[in-house]
Symmetry: C2
Subunit: 314 residues, 2 copies
């Protein structure tokens, strides 16, 4: 009977490990019969999440649905995967809240604009990874941003994600109380990405702090919103202070992305290309084709990283 | 020469009035040669905004692009407008940030999820209305929400939009300083909408406060997010306090919508249908067809209001 007992114990042990919550931090989930990931139009009852997503090792997220579809197609080509690139379908096609594409071990998801929009996606993504029993997943936000003292087209790998007061923290209101979370990202991942950028021609890249705001106009010191109550000089003074605090770009999602990944033990990085230098203007007037090439840069960088990790590159 | 002078003065006067900023509150806009509404993919140089939008009297906004397209098609039918309903095209089709449809005097725009996402849209919408020289515009947010002590399917017309601390205010960070804005909405518009609801069969409607949060899970006291550090009892206690403060539903955009419309002298209302009663659960498990019918309710209510205003109804 000994071998049978050992096998049985082994299976139970494996079963236990497989069901162990690795990423989520919520004891209530264990008692739920079904988990509906509402904004993904997926559920643990209607979808076999381990079968659909169990092999995911890299998750790349970005604001625009079109861009994240293009990224999925790009990765498909870069990894020389089988099948027609045009057949890659939106896994969330039953809803228009987010788009999601799976290409081999890479998941590409759109998250819309702003902290609340990406936070809904992250809650459901982290639950998805747990339900699918994924392990050792790296998360990347590949986005666009305004540059602070950088030439347009520069990719900024985020050192610290900071708020509008240049603090590396994210404030979450829970039941009417403010909880403060750290926004530190994985240093090793950032260094590895910087090394990758040095191996790719024409991909100007720096590591710097990224300021995350909750508004694109007043919140980022723009003079061209529907509302503006400050002067050009006051705007420039704020940008100078941001630069002194190590801020090299401004976007709208990095703090909650960093905070949630950190709490949930997910290694994560933020790579955003700058579309303009905010010291020189507010409007994005660069020609469309140039913007498209800029937006492709973080994609090329992450693709290089993934290929290296998967052993495609020597 | 007298008549010529009079005409000339008259024209200048009209010209001045037409260019007067009615909605925007930003002196810098006057000195801009071009205004690029980046997230709409529109510009004052490449588009004739007065010709395209000058007759707009009603703007309806909601989170989902599909829903706002369906609303445009619905209004087209309700107003008996000429042309094929399938030919209504997305004015912002060059970008996937927002979708925009014009149907006679009604503009239907999607705004994504959360305060930052809707605030970008509102900045560009309010500039658009100004550039197009629109006057006497009413704005409606028609959305979905979680109900607080209401039967699912109830439409809540917002009295006051309140934050997570039940305060009728919106905090905007501008150049590192917190500015507090009132979130009071137009009382007369809310009353008129309630009157409309009484004229439509099977459209349960109340006036109540709407709580606007920056997170769907922890921020709304849900027990089913990737993160949760509170008990069922603590959640219910928070919802009870919200109910005592007059909160009847929870969503994620109303405070900034109310605040910006108020500052910019735009008469505005928020009408959201409740998809569930949060005292009874967190997950949205209602069948799809029932949800679709619920989501149509605010559309039917606004359509009735618009038809009344346009003299379609006696």
């Amino acid at each position: 009977m000994a071998p049978i007992l050992l096998n049985s114990m082994g299976n139970e042990h494996n079963g236990y490990i497989e069901q162990e919550k690795v990423y989520v931090k919520n004891p209530h989930l264990d008692s739920m019969e079904e988990d509906i990931l509402y904004h993904f139009n997926l559920s643990t009852k209607t979808h076999n999440l381990p079968e659909m997503f169990g092999d995911i090792k890299f998750v790349c997220v970005g604001g625009s649905a079109n861009r994240m579809k293009a990224f999925a197609q790009f990765i498909h080509q870069e990894l020389n995967l089988q099948g027609n690139v045009d057949d890659i379908r939106d896994i969330c096609e039953g809803t228009d809240r987010y788009s999601m594409y799976k290409v081999g071990p890479v998941l590409s998801i759109s998250h819309g604009m702003g902290v609340p929009s990406i936070s809904i996606m992250l809650h459901e993504l982290i639950k998805l990874l747990d339900h699918a029993r994924c392990r050792d997943v790296n998360l990347f936000r590949i986005g666009t941003s305004g540059g602070v003292g950088l030439a347009p087209g520069t990719v900024v790998i985020t050192d610290k994600a900071v708020d509008s007061f240049f603090r590396p923290q994210f404030e979450q209101v829970v039941l009417g109380k403010v909880i403060v979370r750290s926004t530190e990202l994985d240093e090793e991942l950032a260094r590895d990405l910087l090394q990758c950028s040095a191996e790719i021609p024409n991909l100007p890249t720096v590591i710097g702090n990224t300021m995350c705001t909750h508004d694109f106009y007043e919140g980022q010191g723009r003079l061209d919103g529907a509302l503006c109550s400050f002067s050009t000089e006051e705007k420039l003074e704020y940008l100078r202070k941001a630069h002194e605090a190590g801020v090299r770009n401004i976007e709208m999602e990095s703090t909650v992305f960093a905070a949630m990944c950190r709490v949930c033990n997910l290694k994560a990085a933020v790579l955003c290309v700058t579309l303009l230098n905010r010291f020189e203007g507010d409007q994005i007037s660069t020609p469309h084709d140039v913007l498209v090439e800029y937006q492709h840069r973080p994609q090329r960088l992450v693709s290089h990283f993934i290929k290296k990790r998967l052993g495609y590159l020597s």
